[in-house]
């Protein structure tokens, strides 16, 4: 048995291991473990000698002996590594050590990695790449599963006899596209303008700009599909700015055919100042109703590090009116910042435009951020507060409670 085992090991080591070591890829290792998992079964079949003496350092011999040939191989290789190759080596070791590191990394990504200013920045970037890779992989797997399933159903339902009686040619997608385009084109003539202010490039990191553009792409999509779209303006958008490059990346050729107005002018140059309202969460003023004659401005900014008052400062500088969504008035806020993503803003504004219903519009605020809608009228809240205060503070301090409730209700009504 011993000899059989040794033989097996020899074969394995000489054939698979060097290959795996050379390529150093996970796939190969998987392959390796899969083939090798047979060996314990073999062993169990043959013998179960219980008196086998345990050699605790046997693993060292295995590790050392199997690698003599390899050492000679690696030694002959040129020793100096370029910094890139060295970085790649380290990444590979980190991956082996079980850290969150992507399997494959492109030259460009490697360069960004090496330019990260600190250890934690490097770690974060690698984790980001790793997760991205995971998502990509699982998407691919799902796609394949889907395709298989489709093929199966096609096989089953291949009855050529059944003729379809239908007065439409089946081309929904392009037909819908055309219909949407008509509507947006109409809105470009008659529709209410909505401005995206693209002047925040230097307040953001590269990744934040990429996120911003992604959110705008989503917003544009849902605007196109709505019943009564806005006429979208991208103002302050300079040619060959980061925003611009990201847009091209997303839309490629469709960018020039997009039914939006793109300009490097400021909104104040295009529209009368008194019609403009800058939407910002920092605004002291709270929006009460959606005004169909006004032009709302959304700042195209993703703010991951907290920079308060940046968009409010823009509006102040230009002397524009500002407004914030009445989130506190309608929602019992739970956690999270009051600034919403651009596509959420778009959904909310579109709903407001169509229905004027705050409750329906604020459904688009992420559920994790609030506990529920403020359903009871203010005077009932006041009653409850009174009750709580009397219970809490006792009778003696009833007065205080009343005073507090009064103030509170005033606050509510002010909003």
């Amino acid at each position: 048995m011993q000899s059989a085992n040794m033989l097996l090991k020899k074969i394995v080591r000489s054939s698979v291991l060097p290959f795996a070591a050379q390529h150093g890829m996970k796939k190969d290792f998987f392959l390796l473990t899969r083939t090798l998992s047979l060996s314990p079964c073999l062993k169990q079949d043959k013998s179960c000698s219980p008196s086998e003496k345990l050699d605790l350092d046997a693993w060292k011999k295995v590790m050392k002996s199997g690698l003599q040939e390899e050492v000679s191989e690696t030694a002959s290789e040129p020793k100096e590594l370029s910094t890139f190759a060295a970085a790649r080596e380290i990444l590979e070791m980190w991956r082996l050590a079980g850290r969150l590191v992507p399997e494959n990394i492109s030259e460009e990504q490697l360069k960004t990695f090496m330019e990260c200013p600190s250890k934690s920045a490097k770690k974060k970037y690698l984790k980001y790449l790793h997760l991205k890779e995971l998502y990509k992989k699982s998407d691919k797997r799902k796609m394949e599963e889907k395709r298989e399933r489709r093929l199966e159903t096609q096989d089953q339902a291949s009855n050529p006899d059944e003729t379809k009686r239908n007065s439409f040619i089946c081309s929904w997608a392009s037909g819908m596209d055309r219909a949407y385009s008509w509507r947006v084109a109409q809105s470009m003539v008659f529709g209410q303008p909505l401005v995206f202010d693209m002047s925040y490039e230097k307040d953001m990191s590269i990744r934040e700009v990429a996120n911003t553009v992604r959110q705008i792409v989503f917003s544009e999509g849902c605007n196109r599909k709505s019943a009564d779209p806005f006429h979208i303006h991208f103002c302050n958008l300079k040619d060959d700015s980061l925003y611009h490059r990201e847009f091209i990346k997303h839309y490629s050729k469709a960018w020039d055919k997009l039914l939006v107005t793109v300009t490097d002018q400021c909104y104040t140059e295009i529209f009368p100042k008194e019609k403009l309202i800058y939407l910002t969460a920092d605004s002291p003023k709270v929006m009460k109703t959606f005004d169909h004659d006004k032009i709302y401005i959304i700042g195209s900014m993703v703010d991951k590090s907290i920079k308060t008052g940046v968009s409010l400062a823009r509006a102040k500088r230009l002397g524009l009116e500002t407004a914030a969504l009445p989130l506190d008035k309608y929602l019992l806020w739970n956690t999270g910042a009051k600034n919403l993503t651009l596509d959420q803003m778009m959904h909310i504004l579109l709903t407001l435009k169509d229905t004027g219903d705050w409750k329906a519009a604020l459904e688009f605020v992420p559920k994790r951020k609030y506990c529920g809608f403020v359903s009871k009228p203010v005077h009932e809240l006041k009653k409850n507060l009174n009750l709580i205060n009397t219970l809490k503070l006792g009778k003696r301090q009833k007065e205080v409670g009343k005073q507090f409730a009064k103030n509170y209700s005033k606050k509510l009504t002010q909003k």
Partner: protein
């Protein structure tokens, strides 16, 4: 999973593995729990042997985990073996393995090997401060103080902040040793503490004291003491450095505040250029003030009372010594609301100058500007820690200056107990320190503030206890 107590045969491992819910990670999980339970390494060895025999190879992460177990138990020869295996098996090692190897070997008698490993790791990346810590401790444990200090300086050039532990070790192992060079080095550490406003804790302080007293022929004597409010040391009657900034530092801080805190990336974020200009001329015309008050902050001291009453009492209290007051507020304070009675506001305006900023402006920035513009004698009143403003400053040095200035110039008012309803007693929480709380020396004396406990200090508090060392 519970690791077994003695080494197992291959079959037994197989059985365990099959009963485990996710067999792919069985070895990893098992080794992890061995580390947690500090199992004998023979058990781990038997697992590795099993893995090696069935797979013909042992994955890197398992080796690292085994290494961690060896380091935990100080098994030097095993650490060596694992290192040898890793070396032939892999072209480079990563930081985790290096850290473990350095940590493990630095405690053994082969500590010099840790140094070569540190060197090796250095070529791949910047070693962590923990790596340096192990090596420095190892070197000083073997009385190689020159080597230890060499490593210490190498660490500083890499912008790593040494732990207090390392510094303490350097003092501990230099005890009783002779040499002017060594003495200079240790004084250097004390100056490092001074520059970075670090405070030793109690045990570290004791090490410093013992080292001073052990210097052959030095005749140093240390005493624990509290410094008087006047800034005099009760032991040696020495007057500590005062908390005032130098002229240059003061101007530097003032300019930084204007540039980075008030203007920042965009003046409109905190105020507007028109408003700031208006405020500047307002201040210029009335200079200098003695006390600048953050009106809104002070008005919230007692929540049960009207806000203007709170402010009124504070102003009355502070106006006693004929001090020139400036109260900063916002425009809404003038609107005759239930909290802000016009009559009271009128009366206050006779006693102090008022400036009302726009409701959406930040009044704190005006507070800083007015105080700094008035000169070094001027103090300000707020309960705010001003952390957000400190955070706007670009570098550590200016932030330290800001902290120091704040310590010397901020008056914190708080309301006294419930009983006295009408008297707002002003007690100054930190009586605007007259002396500077850092490690300091005159050559013949050293004064070192220290933390009494490990965790009692907040970053805004400074220690009140001192170590006074003087040469007899």
């Amino acid at each position: 999973v519970q690791p077994p107590e003695k080494p197992l045969q291959a079959e037994e491992w197989n059985r365990l593995k099959e009963s485990f819910q996710s067999p792919e990670i069985f070895e990893e999980v098992m080794l992890n729990s061995m580390i947690r339970c500090n199992s004998p390494i023979d058990v781990a060895k038997s697992l590795l042997t099993h893995v090696a025999k069935s797979d013909g190879d042992i994955a890197y992460n398992l080796l690292v985990k085994y290494l961690a177990l060896c380091v935990q138990q100080g098994q030097t020869s095993e650490i060596h073996d694992v290192y040898d295996i890793m070396k032939i098996r892999f072209k480079v090692l990563e930081s985790g393995a290096y850290s473990l190897l350095i940590k493990g070997l630095s405690k053994s008698d082969q500590w010099r090997m840790a140094l070569t490993l540190l060197e090796e790791a250095n070529q791949l990346m910047i070693p962590s401060r923990g790596n340096y810590e192990s090596c420095i401790k190892a070197a000083s444990r073997h009385q190689e103080m020159n080597l230890a200090f060499q490593l210490y300086h190498e660490m500083l050039t890499k912008d790593l902040v040494p732990t207090l532990d390392v510094l303490q070790a350097l003092f501990d192992f230099s005890r009783g040793m002779k040499g002017a060079e060594l003495q200079k080095q240790l004084f250097g550490i004390l100056l490092y503490l001074r520059e970075n406003q670090m405070y030793p804790h109690k045990t570290f302080m004791r090490s410093i004291k013992l080292w001073f007293e052990s210097i052959p022929g030095g005749n140093w004597r240390g005493h624990l003491t509290n410094i008087k409010d006047s800034g005099q040391c009760p032991v040696c009657n020495h007057q500590l450095e005062d908390s005032n900034l130098t002229e240059e530092e003061y101007n530097d801080l003032r300019e930084r505040i204007i540039k980075d805190v008030i203007h920042g990336t965009d003046t409109f974020r905190k105020t507007s250029p028109q408003e700031f200009e208006a405020f500047q001329t307002f201040v210029e015309n009335r200079l200098p003030f003695d006390i600048v008050i953050d009106g809104l902050n002070v008005s919230h001291i007692k929540s049960r009372r009207m806000q203007c009453e709170n402010l009124f009492e504070a102003v009355n209290c502070l106006a006693k010594g004929n001090a020139r007051l400036l109260v900063l507020g916002r425009k809404h304070m003038l609107s005759n609301s239930p909290n802000w009675k016009r009559a009271v506001m009128k009366e206050m305006q006779n006693k102090a100058d008022f400036f009302f900023a726009d409701n959406i402006s930040e009044d704190d920035t005006f507070l800083l500007y007015a105080t700094l513009q008035s000169g070094k004698h001027c103090k300000f009143v707020t309960r705010d820690f001003l952390r957000d403003h400190k955070a706007c400053l670009p570098d550590d040095l200016t932030r330290h200056l800001f902290r120091k200035w704040q310590r010397g110039h901020q008056i914190v008012i708080s309301a006294s107990g419930e009983g006295k309803r009408n008297v707002l007693s002003v007690f100054v929480q930190q009586p605007a320190f007259r002396y500077d709380c850092v490690v300091q020396t005159t050559g013949d004396t050293w004064h070192i503030p220290y933390k009494d406990n490990f965790d009692e200090k907040y970053s805004y508090e400074v220690p009140r206890k001192w170590l006074c060392i003087q040469r007899k």
